[in-house]
Amino acid sequence: GESVGLHLPTLSVQEGDNSIINCAYSNSASDYFIWYKQESGKGPQFIIDIRSNMDKRQGQRVTVLLNKTVKHLSLQIAATQPGDSAVYFCAEKQDSGGGADGLTFGKGTHLIIQP
């Protein structure tokens, strides 16, 4: 089946720097994408989403960019803080209609913040 993947399993950044986490997807029919953050010992938490009719969406300190031409999704975190240390997952939803609209998740990137 189609897959959603991440370029790097681990990303290490200095506190205060900007972080960019990348995700490649293969299904051009996907119409909705989400980024999740999972801290140690907790379930994934919704960060930000974007629909396929957009190429950029901003939240608080986070920005998601979508490039449909190359099927690439990225999450940018501004001024990275220790509390940003977590595993980040991208997820995609295919416009299949009906059912429970299951998401397909990437394998995750572990963001490590260096003091």
Partner: protein, 113 residues
């Protein structure tokens, strides 16, 4: 604050035991999901349900079953636990409408010995 609650954070069971993992959501969501999470494999969908008494197989249903007798509760059942079912199990729910974001529980780490 909306919640998805999984009844146990940690469980240790013996091979061959029947195991029940419970999940309750208080958001009146129609859709509920069970995933397992393993290092290097990410989240894999086991079963999902889009309504009471309805269930659908996900990507890895073998060795599992589910029950959805009430809208708020979705149970995952391991009929005869095996060591390869040692994993982190995550329950999620999702309402209808344009917001497709899932709300996840905190997870149950199951060890089968």
């Amino acid at each position: 604050d909306v919640k998805v609650t999984q009844s146990s954070r940690y469980l240790v069971k013996r091979t061959g035991e029947k195991v029940f993992l419970e999940c309750v959501q208080d958001m009146d969501h129609e859709n509920m999901f069970w995933y397992r999470q393993d290092p290097g494999l990410g989240l894999r969908l086991i079963y999902f349900s889009y309504d009471v008494k309805m269930k659908e197989k996900g990507d890895i249903p073998e060795g599992y079953s589910v029950s959805r007798e009430k809208k708020e509760r979705f149970s995952l059942i391991l009929e005869s636990a095996s060591t390869n079912q040692t994993s982190m199990y995550l329950c999620a729910s999702k309402g209808g409408g344009a917001n497709y974001g899932y709300t996840f529980g905190s997870g149950t780490r199951l060890t089968v010995v």
